[in-house]
Point group: D2
Chain length 136, copies 4
Protein backbone atom coordinates (compact mmCIF):
# COMPACT_ATOMS: atom_id res chain seq x y z
CA UNK A 1 0.00 0.00 0.00
CA UNK A 2 2.86 2.29 0.98
CA UNK A 3 4.69 1.53 -2.27
CA UNK A 4 1.52 2.00 -4.32
CA UNK A 5 0.92 5.45 -2.87
CA UNK A 6 4.55 6.39 -3.48
CA UNK A 7 4.17 5.41 -7.13
CA UNK A 8 0.94 7.42 -7.53
CA UNK A 9 2.59 10.35 -5.78
CA UNK A 10 5.53 10.23 -8.17
CA UNK A 11 3.12 10.07 -11.13
CA UNK A 12 1.64 13.48 -10.28
CA UNK A 13 3.75 16.31 -11.68
CA UNK A 14 2.44 18.82 -9.15
CA UNK A 15 3.31 16.52 -6.24
CA UNK A 16 6.84 16.24 -7.59
CA UNK A 17 7.12 20.02 -7.96
CA UNK A 18 5.87 20.49 -4.40
CA UNK A 19 8.07 17.74 -3.05
CA UNK A 20 5.22 15.78 -1.45
CA UNK A 21 6.58 12.72 0.33
CA UNK A 22 4.38 9.81 1.43
CA UNK A 23 5.48 9.02 4.99
CA UNK A 24 2.77 6.64 6.12
CA UNK A 25 0.06 4.46 4.59
CA UNK A 26 -2.23 2.02 6.32
CA UNK A 27 -5.70 0.69 5.68
CA UNK A 28 -7.78 3.88 5.57
CA UNK A 29 -4.97 6.21 6.58
CA UNK A 30 -2.15 8.16 4.96
CA UNK A 31 0.43 10.82 5.84
CA UNK A 32 2.29 13.29 3.62
CA UNK A 33 5.14 15.70 4.28
CA UNK A 34 6.33 18.76 2.41
CA UNK A 35 9.19 21.16 3.00
CA UNK A 36 8.41 24.87 2.82
CA UNK A 37 9.83 26.82 -0.12
CA UNK A 38 9.42 30.55 -0.68
CA UNK A 39 7.52 30.09 -3.94
CA UNK A 40 4.69 28.42 -1.97
CA UNK A 41 3.71 31.62 -0.15
CA UNK A 42 0.69 33.90 -0.39
CA UNK A 43 0.97 37.68 0.01
CA UNK A 44 1.74 37.58 3.75
CA UNK A 45 4.32 34.80 3.37
CA UNK A 46 2.04 32.10 4.85
CA UNK A 47 1.62 28.84 2.94
CA UNK A 48 -0.80 29.60 0.08
CA UNK A 49 -4.36 28.35 0.57
CA UNK A 50 -3.95 26.37 -2.64
CA UNK A 51 -1.00 24.50 -1.14
CA UNK A 52 -2.98 23.90 2.07
CA UNK A 53 -5.78 22.48 -0.07
CA UNK A 54 -3.35 20.47 -2.20
CA UNK A 55 -1.90 18.76 0.88
CA UNK A 56 -5.28 18.07 2.48
CA UNK A 57 -7.00 16.94 -0.70
CA UNK A 58 -4.07 14.70 -1.65
CA UNK A 59 -3.78 13.06 1.76
CA UNK A 60 -7.55 12.44 1.83
CA UNK A 61 -7.32 10.95 -1.65
CA UNK A 62 -4.41 8.74 -0.63
CA UNK A 63 -6.25 7.56 2.49
CA UNK A 64 -9.23 6.73 0.25
CA UNK A 65 -7.00 4.96 -2.27
CA UNK A 66 -5.83 2.53 0.43
CA UNK A 67 -9.37 1.16 0.66
CA UNK A 68 -11.07 2.02 -2.64
CA UNK A 69 -8.36 2.05 -5.28
CA UNK A 70 -8.37 4.79 -7.87
CA UNK A 71 -10.42 7.82 -6.81
CA UNK A 72 -11.12 11.38 -7.92
CA UNK A 73 -12.11 14.21 -5.55
CA UNK A 74 -15.52 15.63 -6.26
CA UNK A 75 -15.72 17.94 -3.26
CA UNK A 76 -13.39 19.20 -0.59
CA UNK A 77 -13.44 21.90 2.05
CA UNK A 78 -10.74 23.47 4.13
CA UNK A 79 -10.77 25.35 7.44
CA UNK A 80 -7.76 27.61 7.92
CA UNK A 81 -7.53 27.80 11.68
CA UNK A 82 -4.05 29.28 12.22
CA UNK A 83 -1.44 30.99 10.02
CA UNK A 84 0.22 28.25 7.98
CA UNK A 85 3.84 29.05 8.80
CA UNK A 86 6.50 26.39 9.29
CA UNK A 87 9.58 24.65 7.93
CA UNK A 88 7.79 21.38 7.28
CA UNK A 89 4.10 20.63 6.73
CA UNK A 90 2.63 17.29 7.73
CA UNK A 91 -0.79 16.25 6.45
CA UNK A 92 -2.61 13.22 7.80
CA UNK A 93 -5.82 11.81 6.38
CA UNK A 94 -8.25 9.07 7.29
CA UNK A 95 -11.31 7.51 5.76
CA UNK A 96 -14.53 8.28 7.64
CA UNK A 97 -16.73 6.06 5.46
CA UNK A 98 -15.96 4.16 2.30
CA UNK A 99 -19.09 3.64 0.25
CA UNK A 100 -19.41 2.14 -3.19
CA UNK A 101 -20.18 5.46 -4.84
CA UNK A 102 -18.48 7.90 -2.50
CA UNK A 103 -15.65 7.81 0.02
CA UNK A 104 -15.70 10.37 2.84
CA UNK A 105 -12.33 11.31 4.28
CA UNK A 106 -11.00 13.95 6.65
CA UNK A 107 -7.55 15.42 7.14
CA UNK A 108 -5.44 17.61 9.36
CA UNK A 109 -2.50 19.80 8.42
CA UNK A 110 0.27 20.56 10.88
CA UNK A 111 3.12 23.05 10.55
CA UNK A 112 6.39 22.08 12.18
CA UNK A 113 8.90 24.71 13.26
CA UNK A 114 12.03 23.50 15.05
CA UNK A 115 10.21 20.33 16.05
CA UNK A 116 7.17 22.15 17.46
CA UNK A 117 4.00 21.04 15.71
CA UNK A 118 0.90 23.22 15.36
CA UNK A 119 -2.49 22.39 13.79
CA UNK A 120 -3.02 24.96 11.02
CA UNK A 121 -5.88 23.56 8.94
CA UNK A 122 -8.48 20.83 8.78
CA UNK A 123 -10.27 19.48 5.76
CA UNK A 124 -12.89 17.12 4.41
CA UNK A 125 -13.10 15.46 1.04
CA UNK A 126 -15.54 13.35 -0.93
CA UNK A 127 -13.82 11.00 -3.36
CA UNK A 128 -15.48 9.04 -6.14
CA UNK A 129 -14.02 5.62 -6.99
CA UNK A 130 -13.24 5.35 -10.70
CA UNK A 131 -13.81 2.17 -12.60
CA UNK A 132 -10.34 1.17 -13.76
CA UNK A 133 -8.70 0.04 -10.54
CA UNK A 134 -5.21 0.61 -11.85
CA UNK A 135 -3.60 1.74 -8.65
CA UNK A 136 -4.36 -1.07 -6.28
Amino acid sequence: MFDTLKIINDTAAFNRWAGFEVTRAEKGEAELRMHWRNEMGQYSGFLHAGMVAALLDTVCGFAAATVSGRVLASHFSVNCIAPAVGQVFIASGKVVKAGRKQVFASGELYADTDGKRKLVATGNAILVPVETSEIT
Copy 2:
Protein backbone atom coordinates in the same frame (compact mmCIF):
# COMPACT_ATOMS: atom_id res chain seq x y z
CA MET B 1 -8.85 48.60 -7.66
CA PHE B 2 -7.47 46.76 -10.66
CA ASP B 3 -3.97 48.10 -9.97
CA THR B 4 -4.23 47.25 -6.26
CA LEU B 5 -5.14 43.63 -7.01
CA LYS B 6 -2.28 43.39 -9.51
CA ILE B 7 0.13 44.58 -6.83
CA ILE B 8 -1.20 42.08 -4.25
CA ASN B 9 -1.04 39.36 -6.87
CA ASP B 10 2.61 40.19 -7.64
CA THR B 11 3.39 40.17 -3.90
CA ALA B 12 2.40 36.49 -3.57
CA ALA B 13 5.25 34.19 -4.54
CA PHE B 14 2.94 31.28 -5.35
CA ASN B 15 0.83 33.46 -7.64
CA ARG B 16 3.97 34.45 -9.52
CA TRP B 17 5.09 30.82 -9.80
CA ALA B 18 1.65 29.84 -11.12
CA GLY B 19 1.47 32.83 -13.44
CA PHE B 20 -1.84 34.11 -12.08
CA GLU B 21 -2.91 37.20 -14.00
CA VAL B 22 -5.61 39.59 -12.77
CA THR B 23 -7.81 40.27 -15.77
CA ARG B 24 -10.76 42.06 -14.21
CA ALA B 25 -11.61 43.86 -10.98
CA GLU B 26 -14.77 45.70 -10.10
CA LYS B 27 -16.62 46.46 -6.89
CA GLY B 28 -17.24 42.99 -5.48
CA GLU B 29 -15.90 41.08 -8.49
CA ALA B 30 -12.60 39.80 -9.81
CA GLU B 31 -11.24 37.57 -12.56
CA LEU B 32 -7.98 35.63 -12.81
CA ARG B 33 -6.33 33.71 -15.63
CA MET B 34 -3.62 31.07 -15.62
CA HIS B 35 -1.92 29.15 -18.40
CA TRP B 36 -1.61 25.39 -17.99
CA ARG B 37 1.87 23.97 -17.40
CA ASN B 38 2.69 20.28 -17.02
CA GLU B 39 3.96 20.67 -13.45
CA MET B 40 0.41 21.65 -12.39
CA GLY B 41 -1.03 18.20 -13.04
CA GLN B 42 -2.28 15.47 -10.76
CA TYR B 43 -1.79 11.77 -11.51
CA SER B 44 -4.23 11.68 -14.46
CA GLY B 45 -2.84 14.87 -15.98
CA PHE B 46 -5.83 17.03 -14.94
CA LEU B 47 -5.18 20.30 -13.15
CA HIS B 48 -4.32 19.38 -9.54
CA ALA B 49 -7.09 19.97 -6.99
CA GLY B 50 -4.68 22.24 -5.14
CA MET B 51 -4.37 24.46 -8.22
CA VAL B 52 -8.16 24.43 -8.65
CA ALA B 53 -8.45 25.52 -5.02
CA ALA B 54 -5.68 28.10 -5.39
CA LEU B 55 -7.47 29.77 -8.30
CA LEU B 56 -10.90 29.74 -6.65
CA ASP B 57 -9.67 30.81 -3.22
CA THR B 58 -7.54 33.59 -4.71
CA VAL B 59 -10.27 34.98 -6.95
CA CYS B 60 -12.75 34.93 -4.03
CA GLY B 61 -10.17 36.72 -1.87
CA PHE B 62 -9.57 39.31 -4.59
CA ALA B 63 -13.31 39.89 -5.03
CA ALA B 64 -13.54 40.37 -1.25
CA ALA B 65 -10.53 42.72 -1.23
CA THR B 66 -12.32 45.06 -3.64
CA VAL B 67 -14.90 45.79 -0.95
CA SER B 68 -13.24 44.92 2.36
CA GLY B 69 -9.52 45.56 1.94
CA ARG B 70 -7.07 43.09 3.35
CA VAL B 71 -8.62 39.69 4.02
CA LEU B 72 -7.58 36.17 4.96
CA ALA B 73 -9.52 33.03 4.00
CA SER B 74 -10.82 31.08 6.98
CA HIS B 75 -12.88 28.53 5.04
CA PHE B 76 -13.29 27.49 1.46
CA SER B 77 -14.89 24.63 -0.38
CA VAL B 78 -14.58 23.36 -3.92
CA ASN B 79 -16.83 21.25 -6.12
CA CYS B 80 -14.97 19.50 -8.93
CA ILE B 81 -17.70 19.05 -11.51
CA ALA B 82 -15.72 18.14 -14.63
CA PRO B 83 -12.14 17.09 -15.42
CA ALA B 84 -10.01 20.24 -15.19
CA VAL B 85 -8.31 20.01 -18.56
CA GLY B 86 -7.52 23.03 -20.72
CA GLN B 87 -4.88 25.37 -22.09
CA VAL B 88 -6.04 28.34 -20.04
CA PHE B 89 -8.00 28.48 -16.78
CA ILE B 90 -10.24 31.43 -16.00
CA ALA B 91 -11.54 31.99 -12.45
CA SER B 92 -14.21 34.52 -11.66
CA GLY B 93 -15.31 35.48 -8.17
CA LYS B 94 -17.97 37.66 -6.65
CA VAL B 95 -18.93 38.80 -3.18
CA VAL B 96 -22.22 37.35 -1.94
CA LYS B 97 -22.28 39.33 1.31
CA ALA B 98 -19.67 41.58 2.86
CA GLY B 99 -20.10 41.74 6.62
CA ARG B 100 -17.87 43.44 9.15
CA LYS B 101 -16.53 40.16 10.52
CA GLN B 102 -16.88 37.86 7.53
CA VAL B 103 -17.10 38.23 3.76
CA PHE B 104 -18.87 35.48 1.81
CA ALA B 105 -17.75 35.01 -1.78
CA SER B 106 -18.32 32.46 -4.51
CA GLY B 107 -16.35 31.57 -7.60
CA GLU B 108 -16.38 29.60 -10.82
CA LEU B 109 -13.49 28.03 -12.66
CA TYR B 110 -13.55 27.56 -16.44
CA ALA B 111 -11.14 25.63 -18.62
CA ASP B 112 -10.56 27.01 -22.07
CA THR B 113 -9.41 24.76 -24.92
CA ASP B 114 -9.10 26.34 -28.36
CA GLY B 115 -11.52 29.06 -27.32
CA LYS B 116 -14.16 26.64 -26.02
CA ARG B 117 -14.95 27.32 -22.40
CA LYS B 118 -16.18 24.68 -19.95
CA LEU B 119 -17.17 25.04 -16.27
CA VAL B 120 -14.93 22.65 -14.33
CA ALA B 121 -15.30 23.72 -10.70
CA THR B 122 -17.24 25.98 -8.37
CA GLY B 123 -16.25 27.23 -4.96
CA ASN B 124 -17.20 29.21 -1.91
CA ALA B 125 -15.01 31.09 0.52
CA ILE B 126 -15.35 32.90 3.81
CA LEU B 127 -12.83 35.69 4.20
CA VAL B 128 -12.03 37.56 7.39
CA PRO B 129 -11.06 41.24 7.08
CA VAL B 130 -7.78 41.94 8.86
CA GLU B 131 -7.25 45.15 10.74
CA THR B 132 -4.40 46.82 8.91
CA SER B 133 -6.01 47.89 5.66
CA GLU B 134 -2.73 48.03 3.80
CA ILE B 135 -3.96 46.85 0.47
CA THR B 136 -6.68 49.32 -0.31
Copy 3:
Protein backbone atom coordinates in the same frame (compact mmCIF):
# COMPACT_ATOMS: atom_id res chain seq x y z
CA MET C 1 -42.61 17.74 -13.00
CA PHE C 2 -44.43 20.22 -10.79
CA ASP C 3 -46.99 17.59 -9.81
CA THR C 4 -44.27 14.99 -9.17
CA LEU C 5 -42.46 17.31 -6.78
CA LYS C 6 -45.72 18.10 -5.00
CA ILE C 7 -46.33 14.40 -4.48
CA ILE C 8 -42.79 13.81 -3.14
CA ASN C 9 -43.17 16.84 -0.91
CA ASP C 10 -46.44 15.49 0.51
CA THR C 11 -44.78 12.11 1.10
CA ALA C 12 -42.26 13.62 3.52
CA ALA C 13 -43.67 13.92 7.03
CA PHE C 14 -41.26 16.69 8.03
CA ASN C 15 -42.16 18.75 4.95
CA ARG C 16 -45.85 18.45 5.92
CA TRP C 17 -45.09 19.48 9.50
CA ALA C 18 -43.09 22.48 8.26
CA GLY C 19 -45.69 23.37 5.66
CA PHE C 20 -43.27 23.32 2.72
CA GLU C 21 -45.08 24.26 -0.47
CA VAL C 22 -43.64 23.64 -3.95
CA THR C 23 -44.23 26.86 -5.88
CA ARG C 24 -42.13 26.30 -8.99
CA ALA C 25 -40.50 23.40 -10.83
CA GLU C 26 -38.71 23.48 -14.14
CA LYS C 27 -35.94 21.45 -15.74
CA GLY C 28 -33.11 21.83 -13.22
CA GLU C 29 -34.89 24.34 -11.00
CA ALA C 30 -37.29 24.37 -8.08
CA GLU C 31 -38.80 26.79 -5.56
CA LEU C 32 -40.25 26.19 -2.10
CA ARG C 33 -42.13 28.41 0.33
CA MET C 34 -42.74 28.12 4.06
CA HIS C 35 -44.62 30.29 6.51
CA TRP C 36 -42.86 31.16 9.75
CA ARG C 37 -44.21 29.60 12.96
CA ASN C 38 -42.84 30.24 16.45
CA GLU C 39 -41.81 26.63 16.98
CA MET C 40 -39.27 27.03 14.16
CA GLY C 41 -37.09 29.47 16.09
CA GLN C 42 -33.65 29.17 17.67
CA TYR C 43 -32.75 30.87 20.95
CA SER C 44 -32.79 34.41 19.51
CA GLY C 45 -36.05 33.87 17.66
CA PHE C 46 -34.43 33.63 14.21
CA LEU C 47 -35.32 30.68 11.99
CA HIS C 48 -33.38 27.68 13.35
CA ALA C 49 -30.29 26.68 11.35
CA GLY C 50 -31.87 23.25 10.95
CA MET C 51 -34.89 24.80 9.23
CA VAL C 52 -32.59 26.90 7.03
CA ALA C 53 -30.78 23.70 6.09
CA ALA C 54 -34.04 21.80 5.60
CA LEU C 55 -35.30 24.39 3.11
CA LEU C 56 -32.01 24.64 1.20
CA ASP C 57 -31.33 20.91 1.15
CA THR C 58 -34.89 20.14 0.07
CA VAL C 59 -34.99 22.69 -2.71
CA CYS C 60 -31.61 21.48 -4.01
CA GLY C 61 -32.90 17.91 -3.91
CA PHE C 62 -36.07 18.91 -5.75
CA ALA C 63 -34.09 20.76 -8.41
CA ALA C 64 -31.95 17.64 -8.82
CA ALA C 65 -35.04 15.41 -8.96
CA THR C 66 -36.31 17.33 -11.99
CA VAL C 67 -33.34 16.06 -14.00
CA SER C 68 -32.13 12.91 -12.23
CA GLY C 69 -35.16 11.33 -10.62
CA ARG C 70 -34.88 9.94 -7.12
CA VAL C 71 -31.89 11.34 -5.24
CA LEU C 72 -30.42 11.36 -1.74
CA ALA C 73 -28.24 14.17 -0.34
CA SER C 74 -24.75 13.04 0.59
CA HIS C 75 -23.33 16.46 1.40
CA PHE C 76 -24.65 19.94 1.90
CA SER C 77 -23.34 23.21 3.24
CA VAL C 78 -25.02 26.39 4.34
CA ASN C 79 -23.82 29.98 4.68
CA CYS C 80 -25.91 32.04 7.09
CA ILE C 81 -25.36 35.53 5.80
CA ALA C 82 -28.10 37.51 7.57
CA PRO C 83 -30.49 36.89 10.48
CA ALA C 84 -33.23 34.59 9.16
CA VAL C 85 -36.23 36.63 10.23
CA GLY C 86 -39.40 36.92 8.15
CA GLN C 87 -43.05 36.00 7.73
CA VAL C 88 -42.42 33.80 4.72
CA PHE C 89 -39.28 32.00 3.58
CA ILE C 90 -38.65 31.32 -0.11
CA ALA C 91 -35.98 28.85 -1.18
CA SER C 92 -34.87 28.50 -4.78
CA GLY C 93 -32.54 25.84 -6.09
CA LYS C 94 -30.87 25.03 -9.35
CA VAL C 95 -28.73 22.24 -10.73
CA VAL C 96 -25.14 23.27 -11.42
CA LYS C 97 -24.10 19.93 -12.93
CA ALA C 98 -25.99 16.67 -13.23
CA GLY C 99 -23.59 13.75 -13.47
CA ARG C 100 -24.37 10.09 -13.49
CA LYS C 101 -23.00 9.52 -9.98
CA GLN C 102 -23.47 12.93 -8.43
CA VAL C 103 -25.67 15.96 -8.97
CA PHE C 104 -24.35 19.34 -7.83
CA ALA C 105 -26.97 21.92 -6.92
CA SER C 106 -27.01 25.32 -5.27
CA GLY C 107 -29.73 27.24 -3.49
CA GLU C 108 -30.69 30.58 -2.01
CA LEU C 109 -32.99 31.32 0.89
CA TYR C 110 -34.91 34.59 1.11
CA ALA C 111 -36.93 35.96 4.02
CA ASP C 112 -39.95 38.01 3.11
CA THR C 113 -41.35 40.60 5.52
CA ASP C 114 -44.29 42.69 4.30
CA GLY C 115 -43.31 41.99 0.72
CA LYS C 116 -39.67 42.99 1.21
CA ARG C 117 -37.34 40.14 0.31
CA LYS C 118 -33.87 39.68 1.81
CA LEU C 119 -31.24 37.02 1.06
CA VAL C 120 -30.52 35.27 4.37
CA ALA C 121 -28.64 32.11 3.41
CA THR C 122 -27.01 30.29 0.53
CA GLY C 123 -26.29 26.62 0.19
CA ASN C 124 -24.77 23.86 -1.88
CA ALA C 125 -25.69 20.20 -2.06
CA ILE C 126 -24.38 17.03 -3.62
CA LEU C 127 -27.12 14.54 -4.43
CA VAL C 128 -26.65 10.92 -5.37
CA PRO C 129 -29.16 9.42 -7.81
CA VAL C 130 -30.67 6.23 -6.41
CA GLU C 131 -31.41 3.27 -8.63
CA THR C 132 -35.18 2.89 -8.37
CA SER C 133 -36.46 5.85 -10.34
CA GLU C 134 -39.80 5.86 -8.59
CA ILE C 135 -40.38 9.57 -8.52
CA THR C 136 -40.09 10.52 -12.14
Copy 4:
Protein backbone atom coordinates in the same frame (compact mmCIF):
# COMPACT_ATOMS: atom_id res chain seq x y z
CA MET D 1 -21.87 24.91 31.94
CA PHE D 2 -24.27 22.00 31.75
CA ASP D 3 -27.05 24.07 33.35
CA THR D 4 -26.32 27.02 31.05
CA LEU D 5 -26.66 24.86 27.95
CA LYS D 6 -29.89 23.37 29.27
CA ILE D 7 -31.30 26.85 29.72
CA ILE D 8 -30.27 27.93 26.20
CA ASN D 9 -31.70 24.70 24.84
CA ASP D 10 -35.03 25.36 26.58
CA THR D 11 -35.06 28.91 25.19
CA ALA D 12 -35.12 27.67 21.60
CA ALA D 13 -38.64 26.84 20.46
CA PHE D 14 -37.45 24.46 17.73
CA ASN D 15 -35.27 22.54 20.20
CA ARG D 16 -38.32 22.12 22.45
CA TRP D 17 -40.45 20.94 19.52
CA ALA D 18 -37.76 18.44 18.52
CA GLY D 19 -37.18 17.31 22.09
CA PHE D 20 -33.44 18.03 22.07
CA GLU D 21 -31.93 17.06 25.41
CA VAL D 22 -28.47 18.21 26.54
CA THR D 23 -26.78 15.11 27.94
CA ARG D 24 -23.19 16.28 28.34
CA ALA D 25 -21.27 19.55 28.49
CA GLU D 26 -17.62 20.05 29.20
CA LYS D 27 -15.04 22.66 28.25
CA GLY D 28 -15.17 22.54 24.44
CA GLU D 29 -17.54 19.60 24.19
CA ALA D 30 -21.27 18.92 24.20
CA GLU D 31 -23.71 16.08 23.56
CA LEU D 32 -27.38 16.14 22.54
CA ARG D 33 -30.02 13.44 22.28
CA MET D 34 -33.31 13.32 20.43
CA HIS D 35 -36.00 10.65 20.14
CA TRP D 36 -37.28 9.83 16.67
CA ARG D 37 -40.83 10.88 15.82
CA ASN D 38 -42.59 10.21 12.53
CA GLU D 39 -42.99 13.88 11.69
CA MET D 40 -39.19 14.16 11.47
CA GLY D 41 -38.92 11.99 8.36
CA GLN D 42 -38.07 12.74 4.73
CA TYR D 43 -39.74 10.94 1.82
CA SER D 44 -38.05 7.58 2.48
CA GLY D 45 -38.73 7.69 6.21
CA PHE D 46 -35.11 8.52 7.15
CA LEU D 47 -34.46 11.42 9.49
CA HIS D 48 -34.83 14.58 7.38
CA ALA D 49 -31.57 16.28 6.35
CA GLY D 50 -32.83 19.40 8.10
CA MET D 51 -33.08 17.49 11.38
CA VAL D 52 -29.61 16.00 10.82
CA ALA D 53 -28.33 19.54 10.29
CA ALA D 54 -30.27 20.88 13.27
CA LEU D 55 -28.68 18.32 15.60
CA LEU D 56 -25.15 18.82 14.24
CA ASP D 57 -25.33 22.60 14.07
CA THR D 58 -26.81 22.82 17.56
CA VAL D 59 -24.28 20.52 19.17
CA CYS D 60 -21.42 22.39 17.49
CA GLY D 61 -22.91 25.68 18.72
CA PHE D 62 -23.26 24.29 22.24
CA ALA D 63 -19.67 23.03 22.24
CA ALA D 64 -18.59 26.51 21.10
CA ALA D 65 -20.74 28.17 23.77
CA THR D 66 -18.85 26.32 26.50
CA VAL D 67 -15.71 28.23 25.58
CA SER D 68 -16.88 31.38 23.79
CA GLY D 69 -20.25 32.28 25.24
CA ARG D 70 -23.00 33.41 22.93
CA VAL D 71 -22.39 32.41 19.32
CA LEU D 72 -24.20 32.35 15.98
CA ALA D 73 -23.46 29.86 13.18
CA SER D 74 -22.24 31.50 9.99
CA HIS D 75 -21.40 28.31 8.11
CA PHE D 76 -21.99 24.63 8.53
CA SER D 77 -21.66 21.54 6.39
CA VAL D 78 -22.99 18.04 6.74
CA ASN D 79 -21.90 14.70 5.29
CA CYS D 80 -24.68 12.12 5.21
CA ILE D 81 -22.74 8.87 5.31
CA ALA D 82 -25.45 6.33 6.15
CA PRO D 83 -29.27 6.29 6.20
CA ALA D 84 -30.32 8.19 9.33
CA VAL D 85 -32.63 5.57 10.80
CA GLY D 86 -32.93 4.92 14.52
CA GLN D 87 -34.98 5.23 17.69
CA VAL D 88 -32.68 7.73 19.30
CA PHE D 89 -30.17 10.15 17.74
CA ILE D 90 -27.06 11.21 19.63
CA ALA D 91 -25.02 14.20 18.46
CA SER D 92 -21.63 15.01 19.91
CA GLY D 93 -19.63 18.14 19.16
CA LYS D 94 -16.25 19.49 20.00
CA VAL D 95 -14.35 22.71 19.45
CA VAL D 96 -11.44 22.39 17.02
CA LYS D 97 -10.20 25.94 17.47
CA ALA D 98 -11.70 28.85 19.37
CA GLY D 99 -10.52 32.15 17.92
CA ARG D 100 -11.65 35.63 18.86
CA LYS D 101 -13.61 36.12 15.62
CA GLN D 102 -14.50 32.55 14.70
CA VAL D 103 -14.91 29.25 16.50
CA PHE D 104 -14.40 26.06 14.47
CA ALA D 105 -16.27 23.02 15.72
CA SER D 106 -16.98 19.54 14.41
CA GLY D 107 -19.68 17.04 15.23
CA GLU D 108 -20.82 13.47 14.74
CA LEU D 109 -24.34 12.10 14.63
CA TYR D 110 -25.14 8.55 15.71
CA ALA D 111 -28.37 6.63 15.32
CA ASP D 112 -29.18 4.16 18.06
CA THR D 113 -31.44 1.17 17.39
CA ASP D 114 -31.95 -1.28 20.25
CA GLY D 115 -28.71 -0.10 21.81
CA LYS D 116 -26.68 -0.52 18.62
CA ARG D 117 -25.05 2.74 17.64
CA LYS D 118 -24.17 3.68 14.04
CA LEU D 119 -22.43 6.81 12.71
CA VAL D 120 -24.85 8.38 10.22
CA ALA D 121 -23.50 11.88 9.63
CA THR D 122 -20.58 14.18 10.35
CA GLY D 123 -20.52 17.94 10.29
CA ASN D 124 -18.47 21.07 10.67
CA ALA D 125 -19.54 24.52 11.79
CA ILE D 126 -18.06 27.99 12.03
CA LEU D 127 -19.56 30.01 14.86
CA VAL D 128 -19.16 33.73 15.40
CA PRO D 129 -19.08 34.98 19.00
CA VAL D 130 -21.63 37.74 19.53
CA GLU D 131 -20.88 40.70 21.75
CA THR D 132 -23.42 40.42 24.54
CA SER D 133 -22.23 37.41 26.50
CA GLU D 134 -25.60 36.74 28.00
CA ILE D 135 -25.42 33.00 28.07
CA THR D 136 -22.28 32.36 30.02
